[in-house]
Amino acid sequence: MSTLNSIMSIAGEALQSAQGALNVTANNIANSDTPGYTREVVNLTESPTVHQGTLQMGTGVSLQGFTSVRNEVLQLQIDNQTQQANSSLAQSNALQQIETAFPSSGGIGADMTAFFDSLSQLSTNPSSTSLRASVLSNASNLVSDFHAASASISQLQTGLDETVPKSTTEINQLSTQIANLNAQISSAGMAGQDSGPLVDQRDQLVSELSQITNVQTTSTPNGVTLTTGNGTPLVVGNQSFSLTSATGSDGLQHVLQNGQDITSSLTGGSLGGTLQVRDSELPALQTKLDTLASQFSSAVNSANKAGFDLNGVAGQAVFSTAGTSGAAASIQLALTSASQIAASSDGTAGSGGNLANLLAVQTTALPSGMTPVGAYSDLVYTVGNAASQSQTTNAAANAALGQLQSQQASLSGVSVDQETTNMIQYQQAYQAAAKVVSTVDSLYQILITMGVTVA
């Protein structure tokens, strides 16, 4: 049998539920622009019915709690794309810097051509002091540009290297925070509390971690487990495992965990992109540049040695390099005077016979299989192609990321219009429940004046 008290109790639950719903609405509106915020919805269920004979009566509404509307799979995909996007962005930024050292017009290519053209000009008057001086000055320009190109590679490498310890520290900070949140979420979950904001924070931190390195996420009852590289643990439950950085035998910073070098397994995020350029692209470029410097100088040297200089003395080396590795940085002009250019093939000052040997270097393939200008052209292609590929990868990853983020926003983002509609709805529900309270109250008054004891 329904009583006024039970109606009052139903109305009270209804008021509470409407208040709770309005609370969620207000919170959603307040956080509509908060990064990483996932909108919440109120969970209302019917209270259990009571049976009285054949009658079955409802006992009102019950506020079960609040749920964050999130899709974990989508979040994983976003983290994955973030790793790719940030890795390719780091690569593209770095490679764009190096592109200017290998211009298609000018640079080492133009210097080598100018050097050969001045030798070609010298053949019109092999004993001319001014034409010889021009050969020497072109050779000196070439040496400077080899130095400049090599320096820009090593400077970029150093610059990238300096970011490795910083990234390692950032990873450690994030791991610690995520482990703490895991602990909080786990204890909050047990107490049956709403852990929405905590999960939002954790997802946000995992996203930040994905910007730096590749992270694999696994959900466990104790919270997310995070690993990087080939399964190196960062966070397991409420524990975090730190990474360290140390200078390796190559003079570069390596990332370690418990003494184990995991540098080469870090491929995603800004750190992954940085390491990729530092350890793969730049060394390959440096090797090509060194090979060119070394093979070019030894070809020119042996051609010069085949002739005689202005004073009839046997030709000597034009350039000197300290070995093949580092040749571009160490190449120097070995000639001290323009008279030492061995143009002559018969020892007379007027002979330009050996210039043909020197000029042949321009059109003959070096041991690398390419002519000097061909080898430079290959460098330009290598740099341009690497930069272009990272740009393309970045554009594609960004497009995919944008798509996923839009999907996530359509699922989890706050729509102020929707919240406004909800607010009106809950407001009316609250008003109606309040009306029930005042109605029941007036019924009590009638009963009291009637002198009937309230059942």
Binding site: P103, S104, G109, D117, S127, G413, S415
Partner: protein, 297 residues
């Protein structure tokens, strides 16, 4: 389906993308180049390296041709003066051989011929910018000198070296003929025949004079033949120059195809980008004030 109500980000992204395109297009128009960094088109950039090298080489070949032409012309004109002098010597010889000359006249003629020989030696020692054209590669000192020691009366201190100048890819032109091949050739020895004529006139030997004028005629032929070499080389250079100019034009056009901006297309694209940017801005302006709250007051 629930829609993403945060469309500001999307519109902003689209405006950013359009502005990036506009910026790239502006760069293309201001530089006139489609490829402004290697990554814009790695293949075109790497081909441009070779193209620019060929263009610079061609320019150098043209410069080589122009300086070589002036050398060849100096040599050629020296040789034609030698022929003139040799012809004068022949007429002097013919005059001396007619038998009616007094001893004083004979001495006079011998002195004239000797003067001609001095002029020929001067011509054989022609130099341009300190380079003696007829000394082989020993070109820093005068190759010919009057000298009583050799039978020819003139000594040659040059060598038989030749120089060549590159005038095209794998193409060179020989720029000199060693002096002894011109002036002391077995088919017509200029110096020997002049000395013989002077000696014959001084000795008043009609048969000697006739023999010497015959030798001189051979020498004229020999020098003319060598002069042919110089004019032939000069002609070769002229035609090489023409083909280099054609090559330069074609290299320039190749370069333009590789890395040049297609101005008309870029300008059209810019107009399109501007239109789409305007549309995005207008969409933002229309959408931004839209809110349910505006209708609930």
């Amino acid at each position: 389906m629930r829609v993403n109500s945060n469309y500001y980000t999307q519109i902003l992204n689209s405006i950013n993308a359009t502005q990036e395109t506009l910026q790239a297009d502006t760069l293309q128009l201001s530089t006139g180049r489609r490829v402004n960094s290697d990554s814009d088109d790695p293949t075109a950039a790497s081909l441009e390296v070779g193209n620019l090298a060929s263009t610079a080489d061609a320019a150098q070949y043209e410069q080589n041709i122009s300086s070589t032409q002036s050398l060849l012309q100096s040599a050629s004109s020296a040789l034609s003066s030698v022929v003139t002098n040799l012809t004068s010597a022949i007429s002097q010889g013919v005059e001396a051989a007619n038998g009616t000359m007094t001893a004083a006249q004979q001495t006079q003629i011998a002195a004239t011929i000797s003067g001609l020989r001095d002029q020929i030696i001067g011509l054989a020692n022609t130099s341009v910018q300190g380079v003696y054209l007829f000394g082989g590669t020993a070109s820093s000192t005068p190759p010919f000198a009057l000298n009583a020691n050799p039978a020819t009366g003139v000594s040659y201190s040059g060598n038989n070296g030749v120089n060549a100048v590159p005038v095209g890819d794998n193409q060179t032109v020989q720029t000199n003929v060693p002096g002894d091949q011109i002036f002391a050739s077995s088919s017509g020895n200029v110096m020997q025949s002049m000395t013989d004529l002077i000696n014959a006139v001084q000795a008043n030997s009609t048969s000697g004079i006739e023999a010497a004028t015959g030798e001189l005629q051979n020498a004229v032929n020999a020098v003319s033949l060598q002069q042919e070499f110089y004019s032939g080389a000069s002609n070769q250079l002229t035609s090489e120059n023409t083909s280099l100019q054609t090559e330069t034009v074609s290299l320039k056009s190749q370069e333009n195809n590789l890395v040049g901006a297609d101005v008309a297309t870029v300008a059209t694209n810019m107009t399109l980008s501007q239109t789409s940017e305007q549309a995005a801005l207008e969409a933002l302006a229309k959408v931004a004030p839209m809110s349910l709250l505006n209708y609930l007051q």
